[in-house]
Amino acid sequence: MRRLLLTVAAATVAAVTLTACGTTEPAADDAKKTAAPITLTDASGAKVELAGPAKKVVGTEWNVVESLVSLGVDPVGVADVAGYKTWNTAVPLKGEPKDIGTRGEPSMDTIASLKPDLVIATSDLPPAALQQLRKVAPVLEVRPGDAADPIGQMTKNLDLIAQATGTTAQSDKLKQGFQAKLDQGKKALADAGKGGAAYAFADGYVISNQVSIRPYTSGSLIGGVNEKLGLKNAWTVQGDEAYGLATSDVEGLTKLGDVEFAYIGNDGDKDSNPFAGVLAQDKVWTSLPFVQKGNVNRLPDGIWMFGGPESMNKYIDSVVAALTK
């Protein structure tokens, strides 16, 4: 033990002295400042000052990343790049952003080494982490969602990000496109006699041999879009304040009654699709009225349920296609 400690100590000291001298970055010099400054107020009420439209942007949540890509700004850093690529193919990343770690604990070091002009984060990050990020770059904090007005919150976030990156024209175009898509979808559904149809959207996962179902209530972004499409949300359970998500099990589905049911799974994530998997054998599932009538619709993979207008456009297309088929 003691010999081991001794060796370790000697080795560390030697290694440190041999390799650790010098610097990786020259001492600070005075940066040059140009362009018209931008001042914004973010979700935390803080003033965010930018020297000009941000070009090198880091996004810590996928909804923010999607908005950035939609606005034509390729983020330089994205949390969990592989996960984003699995779950959001509606708005694929264009460049090769640096992976900044997990969405819950993005790496401060990596973000700092990217020297971003702006970090866009959601209030899901711990306050202390947000405070630290403010030291590396201006931080635009956005609310991840608002169950009281999910679509409003999404567009508000989009606008804020657009202002910070000087892409308001593009954001107006996205919003118009989204509105047009909503109107179109609503009309298509009404024409097919599905106006006011009872509809329930969920996702689910299997852990060990147990199934969890996650209902998307009216407070979720998807739920908000459903209502704009003229569909009636059949979930009666209460969702959380930010995302409008609830928790349920297979039994809970019996309260839905005779509805149109839709879900999104992911082929890249086996456990994310109980509906086509383990539930096929489940008597509660198979005796549900909407299952017996074949009103279960799997929507295409890669639509991020918490994303921005482009994901939602894709969602509208796929719902309309599924319900009017």
């Binding site: 003691r2 400690l5 370790v8 100590a9 000697a10 560390t12 000291v13 290694a15 440190v16 650790a20 001298c21 010098g22 610097t23 990786t24 970055e25 001492a27 600070a28 010099d29 699995t86 770690g101 997990t102 819950g104 790496s107 401060m108 070091d109 990596t110 020297k115 899901d124 711990p126 306050p127 202390a128 982490a129 030291k135 590396v136 852990i207 060990s208 041999n209 147990q210 969890s212 209460q238 959380d240 998500l245 928790t247 349920s248 099990d249 039994e251 809970g252 019996t254 309260k255 890249g268 994530d269 086996k270 456990d271 994310s272 054998q281 008597k283 509660v284 005796s287 549900l288 009225p289």
Partner: protein, 688 residues
């Protein structure tokens, strides 16, 4: 452990006690049946008593009938099954190891199974239930074998729990690490980890039932031999009982039973320890239960009542759609913890204090060399921790930073990294010191802030505050953590004080409080912030993420005070830790200083939790290792333990931040991964 051994007292009326035993069994059966009946009327579907009745009599509409048949009944049966097998497994393990604390939880069987399943989940292979339970069985059995092998069959409680909790911590840390590395494959497994009896259809139960049956029949066949073991190994051998093979068979069967439970429902905590503990006082009342053949099924029944009762209670108390989100295991842990504490107080603790570890006397030179080496290692680790990370720095950067001339990136990296390094260092040192103090005061080698529930109480206090006041400052978090720690230590030490801090009572009560607080923390996070895995990680397993220098100020102050007191009062510490009588013979009353040391220990662990979450292990490992290295005098133990603690947590934090960068693992997880092998090595070495 004398508690499990049948009391040789002669009871005159064996006939009345036999009817008594029958009556008790009948009452238990009725209770379980009643709970089962209530359980099938509860759930998220609006299927209540009338619908269930109609379904059972075949007159319900098909929807309701399917809910009863495919969801309620399987859940009820799973509850029965899981409770029964865990209860029996616990009873068998306690009997063969002659140890009241032996259970699937303490023998790391659950952790081993969980690890096996976690590995399986990560490989992405999707195996049928039976095959995956095979993996879980191998994992669980291997873990139990390691724990029993290290602690020695039939050896003291202390070693068993030490080895078991060490391996549990280490294995679960690796599993949790895997889960963090593969979050997509393992989404929601945090909840699974708590154990839930919900089922879809009878498939799972039907596939596990034969395993349970094999285990039960096997144990019943083995029961007579196990009874003989209670007489002691030599006496049993004298009766012609093959001691070794009996033990091995019983452990294998018990592992098989717990595997069935884990595969079906995830680790439902505490049932395996509680059910036999509840049966034990019965065995003293009614001699019929002293035989394993009778007590095994009764322990099974009690286990079933515990699991079903917890499920019923949860669904009765909480709104249905919320109840779905709360795993049954959280409730059994809470219920079990309360029972355990009550039992611990009532149990007559006949165990003597564990044999003091036989330590070689170390010379002064050894102490000086050890300290010097540790200081060098610490310096090396600190330098490495500051330089290495996602972005590697060099010493010149640090120099620039210290002089305020560093570039933007370097400044930021160091501004965020240095507080984390400091938090890890101080938390490690504080936990080690707290462990040293508490072990000295209670003269209990198991007394560690984590195991005694002090850290758990602190985490609970901190989480309560953080949930209600999102922008709480570092002083108020430290204050809330201290309030929680103080409350839990008042409970633990208050309850254990009766009869003078006896080994088992202290550890049992502490273990109960630790489990209860961990369950409450999980419950709070699930109920208030279900989608926040980071929060759960920070408070349940320790993380320095997002720490700033002001956050560690309370910890730094308390640590300095603690060190000063420990050094100034080193002689008292030596005396206190010696035995009950020597100080008295010397005419010293140590009541006051005992209380002071204890309070200091609580303060240290509370501030450490506030700064870095609950980091297990350090408070246990560091003082042990320090005593092994430099002997037991506190003027040597304190500095060495503190240095070791700081090195351990700082290394853990460094590794956690770098191995899977830019993603990261909590320091607590890494502490367990690094600490486990060393600790097990220590156990092996100290075995004579």
């Amino acid at each position: 452990m004398a508690v499990t051994a049948p009391t040789a007292a002669t009871r005159p009326s064996s006939i009345t006690s036999r009817t008594g035993a029958a009556a008790v069994t009948a009452a238990l059966v009725l209770l379980v049946a009643g709970l089962a009946a209530v359980d099938i009327t509860q759930g998220t579907a609006s299927v209540g008593v009338p619908e269930v009745w109609r379904a059972l009599t075949g007159r319900a509409d098909p929807g309701d009938a399917s809910v009863v048949i495919a969801s309620r009944l399987p859940r009820m049966v799973a509850g029965l099954f899981v409770g029964a097998v865990l209860g029996m497994a616990g009873a068998a393990l306690q009997a063969v190891s002659r140890n009241v604390l032996a259970s699937p939880d303490t023998l790391a069987v659950n952790a081993g199974s969980y690890f096996g399943l976690g590995l399986l989940a990560v490989t992405g292979a999707s195996l049928p239930l039976l095959a995956s339970s095979g993996v879980a069985f191998v994992g669980g059995l291997a873990a139990a074998a390691v724990v029993l092998g290290l602690s020695g069959l039939g050896a003291g409680t202390v070693r068993l729990v030490l080895a078991g909790s060490a391996l549990t911590l280490g294995l679960s840390a690796i599993t949790e690490g895997l889960l963090l590395l593969f979050p997509q494959q393992t989404a929601g497994i945090f909840r699974w980890n708590q154990g839930s009896i919900a089922q879809h259809g009878f498939d799972g139960v039907l596939q596990m039932a034969p395993i349970g049956l094999v285990g039960l029949v096997g144990l019943l066949l083995l029961a007579r031999r196990v009874d003989a073991l209670a007489l002691g190994d030599d006496a049993a051998r004298g009766l012609g009982v093959p001691v070794r093979s009996t033990r091995v068979t019983a452990v294998v069967l018990a592992a098989l039973l717990s595997t069935a439970a884990v595969t079906l429902a995830g680790p439902v905590g505490f049932v395996g320890m509680c059910a036999p503990a509840l049966v034990r006082p019965l065995a003293r009342r009614f001699r019929g239960f002293t035989r394993n053949r009778a007590s095994l099924p009764v322990a099974g029944l009690t286990g079933a009542a515990l699991v079903l009762g917890s499920d019923v209670l949860l669904r009765a108390v909480v709104r249905t759609d919320v109840a779905v989100a709360v795993p049954t295991g959280v409730v059994t842990s809470l219920v079990g913890a309360v029972f355990l504490i009550v039992m611990a107080i009532r149990v007559k603790d006949t165990a003597t204090a564990a044999a003091v570890d036989r330590l070689r006397i170390r010379s002064r030179t050894v102490f000086l060399v050890t300290t010097a080496v540790l200081v060098a290692v610490l310096v090396g680790v600190i330098v490495a921790a500051v330089l290495v990370g996602d972005s590697k720095l060099l010493l010149g950067d640090v120099l620039n930073w210290a002089q305020g001339r560093a570039g933007r990136t370097t400044t930021f990296v160091l501004d965020t990294r240095v507080p984390r390094v400091v938090a890890a260092l101080l938390a490690g040192a504080a936990l080690a010191l707290a462990g040293t103090l508490v072990q000295a005061v209670t003269r209990n080698p198991l007394a560690e802030p984590g195991i005694l529930g002090v850290s758990g109480g602190a985490a609970l206090g901190a989480v309560l505050l953080v949930t209600t006041v999102p922008l709480a400052g570092s002083w108020s978090v430290a204050g809330a953590a201290f309030a929680g720690a103080a409350l839990s230590s008042v409970i633990v030490f208050g309850l254990a004080a009766r009869g003078g801090f006896q080994q088992n009572r202290l550890v049992l009560v502490g273990f109960g409080v630790a489990t209860a607080s961990a369950a409450l923390v999980s419950l709070l996070i699930i109920l208030t912030d279900p989608f926040n895995a980071t929060k759960a990680l920070t408070w349940l397993s320790g993380s320095t993420y997002g720490r700033t220098l002001p956050d560690v100020v309370p910890l730094a102050i308390v640590l300095v005070v603690g060190l000063v007191v420990a050094v100034a009062r080193r002689t008292e510490l030596d005396l206190v830790s010696l035995d009950e009588d020597t100080p008295r013979l010397l005419g010293l009353s140590l009541g006051g200083s005992r209380f002071g040391f204890l309070l200091l220990g609580v303060l240290l662990s509370a501030t450490a939790v506030a700064a870095a979450g609950t980091i297990g292990f350090v408070g246990l490992v560091a003082p042990h290792a320090a005593r092994a290295l430099v002997g037991r005098q506190h003027h040597r133990v304190v500095p060495v333990a503190v240095l070791l603690g700081a090195v351990l947590v700082c290394t853990a934090d460094l590794v956690g931040r770098t191995v899977i960068a830019p993603a990261q693992l909590g320091a607590g997880l890494m502490t367990a991964v690094i600490g486990t092998p060393y600790f097990l090595h220590l156990l092996v070495r100290s075995r004579r």
